[in-house]
């Protein structure tokens, strides 16, 4: 390492460039990176500049500094658009972003940037050898967004014991999910959760709102069995369907009785005397 220090202090730019290439060959990314970083401003405008920037970006990528490597690769392909390494740089830019994309449960703005970078790459180089990998990565990133939306919808369902209103939120989030990711693997489970959420909401509602919500439960159930006729959640859903039906019948009966009572009350002043006399007869 002392030889490295000596080189860094006293070596000429030429020596440093050669040494940097050697370190790079030896996969000593750290030392190569240090030297390239130092050389790039000095080499600006010279013939070696191009490769120095390209290798420097790689040293950072290999050291898992993906955020830095992404900007370096981007700068490279923008500056040297006609270089033979431009395609690789653009791919590596997108790949770095892909590597840097956070877990599904964190802010996804980097995931979106990575997706569009990969898509741009595929559009620019439709025949590239990296095309398949890029496509795979896009799918992978999309799954992250899918998982995020899924967990969010589920979270509302999960925390509804604390706040009844979030059953409704859960239904709305599931509807959004079904629209955004129609072919997702989570759809079966969510379709069931939607039935469950609407059913639980109806159960915990005021009587005036119950009938409408049980009716909605039945609609959701029908949508569920049409799409997943042999689902593992079928039995549970069926129970909810049955008791929704019972509840609706009960509520309809109740409504009828109440309407009758009202009718009676309305008619009462006119009818009562006649009835009373009739009873006495």
């Amino acid at each position: 390492c002392s030889s490295f220090n000596k080189l860094q202090k006293t070596g000429t730019d030429d020596q440093k460039y050669k040494a940097a290439l050697q370190y790079y060959e030896k996969k000593d990314w750290y030392h190569a990176g240090l030297l390239f970083e130092e050389l790039i401003p000095v080499l600006k405008g010279s013939t070696e500049s191009e490769m120095a920037q390209f290798y420097y970006a790689y040293t950072q990528f290999r050291q898992q500094q993906y955020l830095l490597s992404s900007t370096l690769f981007k700068k490279f392909y923008e500056t040297f658009a006609r270089s033979e390494h431009a395609q690789e740089a653009m791919y590596m830019y997108a790949y770095s972003l892909y590597k840097d994309a956070p877990d599904y449960n964190l802010d996804q703005s980097n995931t979106l940037t990575a997706t569009s970078a990969l898509q741009d790459f595929i559009n620019n180089y439709p025949d590239s050898q990296y095309r398949d990998d890029a496509t795979k990565m896009i799918l992978d990133l999309r799954q992250k967004l899918e998982r995020k939306a899924y967990e969010k919808a589920k979270l509302y369902f999960k925390t509804s014991g604390f706040n009844i209103a979030s059953y409704k939120s859960s239904v709305i989030s599931i509807n959004n999910f079904q629209r955004d990711f129609p072919d997702s693997q989570y759809n079966e489970e969510l379709a069931f959760l939607k039935v469950d959420a609407e059913y639980s909401l109806a159960k915990n509602s005021l009587e005036t709102k119950q009938k409408e919500r049980y009716q909605e439960t039945m609609n959701y159930y029908q949508g569920f069995i049409d799409r997943y006729p042999s689902s593992k959640y079928l039995k549970q859903a069926e129970k909810m369907f049955e008791s929704s039906q019972k509840e609706i019948d009960r509520l309809t009966k109740l409504e009828k009785e109440r309407a009758k009572e009202k009718q009676l009350q309305k008619q009462a002043p006119a009818d009562r005397p006649g009835k009373v006399t009739a009873a006495r007869q």
């Binding site: 600006k44 405008g45 010279s46 013939t47 500049s49 191009e50 500056t79 040297f80 658009a81 006609r82 270089s83 956070p102 449960n105 964190l106 802010d107 703005s109 995020k148 967990e151 969010k152 979270l155 509302y156 999960k158 925390t159 014991g161 604390f162 706040n163 209103a165 979030s166 409704k168 939120s169 239904v171 709305i172 989030s173 959004n176």
Partner: protein, 838 residues
Amino acid sequence: QVRVGAGRPAETQFSADELTNYASPKEYEITGLSVTGTRYLDPNSLVSLAGLKVGDKTRIPGEAVGSSVRKLMDSGLLDNVELFATHTGEGKVSLMFRVQERPRLYRVSFMGIKKGEQDQLKDKTKLNLGKIVTNTIVKNTQMAVRKYFVDKGYLNTKVKITTVPDSARNNATMRVLVDKGQKVKIAKINFEGLDEAEESAVRMKMKGTKEKRFGRIFTPSKFVPKKYEEDKQKLIAYYNKLGYRDAAIERDTLIHNPDNTVSLDIVLNEGKKYYYRNVDFSGNYLYTAAQLRSVLGIQKGDVYNPEDLDKRLNGNPGQDLSSQYMDDGYLYYNATPVEKMIDGDSIDLEIRIYEGKQATINRIILNGNTKTSDHVVMRSIRTLPGQKFNKSLLIRTQRELSTLGYFDPEKIGIQPVPQSDGTVDVEYTVEEKPSDQIELSGGWGGYVGFVGTLGLTFNNFSARNIPHLSAWKPLPAGDGQRVQVRFQANGRQYQVYSLSFTEPWLGGRKPNALSVSASHTVYRSFYDPNNINSYYQPLQGRSPTGSYSNTAFTVGLGRQLKVPDDYFSLTHSLSYQRYDLNNLDLFYIGYKNGISNNFTFNTTIARNSIDNPQFPRSGSSFSLSGSFTPPYSAFKTEKENVSIENRFKFVEYHKWMFDASWFQTVIGKLVLNTRAHMGFLGSYNKRTEIGPFERFVLGGSGLAGQGQFALAQDIIGLRGYDDRSVYTADYNQVPSAAARSQGGVVYNKFVAELRYPVSLNPSATIFALVFAEAGNNWASYKQYSPFDLKRSLGFGARIFMPAFGLIGIDYGYGFDTIPGIKNQPSGQFHFTIGQQIR
């Protein structure tokens, strides 16, 4: 600077027409590319920068050629690029770029000013070395430097800049010569036409523009044009507030006096004072005018005050007119006050209301949580999909998010995004801030001398991610759990180890907080009763004469309540403490050897609506807690005669604590905090004495953990008095030191504190405070007299830094004497570390 032109020295030239004929661009094959005019740069690499290649087919004029020039300019290396084209055959062209390199800034030297000013100016002018020197940059620098000094009160600053090129290296040195002259002060401010308003009040409103006066220290009297402009606005705003709706500054004159001062002549036109006459509404369908009028609260004959009107319309969440609509989904609501008629000094106001449609929330979008998991943030968000849009809940969410402590409270963004289908998405943007704390302190703890503390608090821990190595950066984080590790010691004599863990949402379904903690304390005495001097002798090589240890475990489960309102929480906990005494008379009551077991059940009900944890401005917190040991004595009918060793085998007591704290903004940024604290310790029946455990100790900074009694007693601060000194003994006796350290069974304390924020920057929140407090601590209920309090006054400051927590210093002056303490210092300093609840 960019020119695409017909070539100068070519054999077969294009006609200018042919090259710039945009109507019919032609395609050419590039047969040659060259760069001329370089002196320091490599022509070949400039060619590669241009993005063209020999053999390319390109249209001229066309995008590729234009962008090649642009790319060269974008490199920042060049001052000028010209492109020349030469015919080299049918459909063939050779391109030549003629470039001119720019001189770069090599050095900036300031003359005539101090070093510190130079450094600040270097930041202000943004002169990076290596930057290309152009006339614009020279001019901008000159203006920036002059403005810097004028804003400091040097009105007559002259700045001269010369650039000295160094032709050998393509560099230039910039020399900035500053003659800032003397500070210009304001000799006199004359007002003309100032009749209706109080002149002193008007002068006070002009905060940054003051007359020169002897003894003016805090508000300088120098003349700063920028501040003067602001002050003129403030002046008018002040008049408007008083009902002078037409007030204006007719003219103002700046007079340069010969003694390097200036005078200001301000001619005011105050106009009339106006009053409200009729307030009408239009466009309101949901509420009647009478309903809206009662919300607005403006009466006929009130002074016309547009600023206040605006507040009543939009400024006061939950109480203003906008909340009436915006809390019920009417997101598009809008109210415009229009002065419909002005008759003499009366104004008829019409408030035009646009109610719009009711919007339902569809999606909640969260951005910026780069460390904290979605579910941790989402569960604190009060606006839910399916609800009607509600502005008050938005504001409540802001409070909840800042209370989490993971995000910069000043940067929480809330953006309702209306959708075309009548729903609205609510977008929350947060910015993570460091939330972990390290405590590294050394302090002088009265009995044991120097005590060092090392504490680590991770406020956003993730126990779930412990097995995942990739999540360790540097610790698994993001699930909102809290882990605290603390170690305190002074060598062999005194050590405390503690560990605690809190999961705020146990199971993830409801906010049921689980907390688990354990601690262990050891204290060894090296004092030899046969040798009085042993206290002062070094400990090395000696064996302890007595020891005390305490081991404690606590498990608690807390939950948020919804009744009476959702600021309430209820916590239950179970704890066990084991005290082990070995030949040490810790409590000075002859209990030297033995083991005490203390099982308690604690229940706490609390309400907390404080708006911001670091610097609260509004809200309050209350907490009432009761701790109970099992009533062992209930199974013994008579008072038994037990040896002292066994008397405290099972500790028995019940203990009640009450704490209340209110925050309110008094005026401007000034916040008043009033607090009341009380504690009561009792026994279940007359047969049982109140033991020495869990008693109250009052006085001083209230910094717990700096003595060996930290875990056996409750330490409460009272500024202006010595640590642990405030005590009223039984039967009006003068208490001994022993009685004092045994502590009291009742304490009361009341505090009033005025706080003023010096900096609200989250990396260092600083505020200054003045306080008045009073409290006392009694040895028995017979003695308890709530109005016999020890009073004190003082002032201090607090600084909160995310990595270190809250650190404070106070100076307190105690007015009352404490029985039994001679030569009590009346004024003293207190240091505090961490948030003090009591």
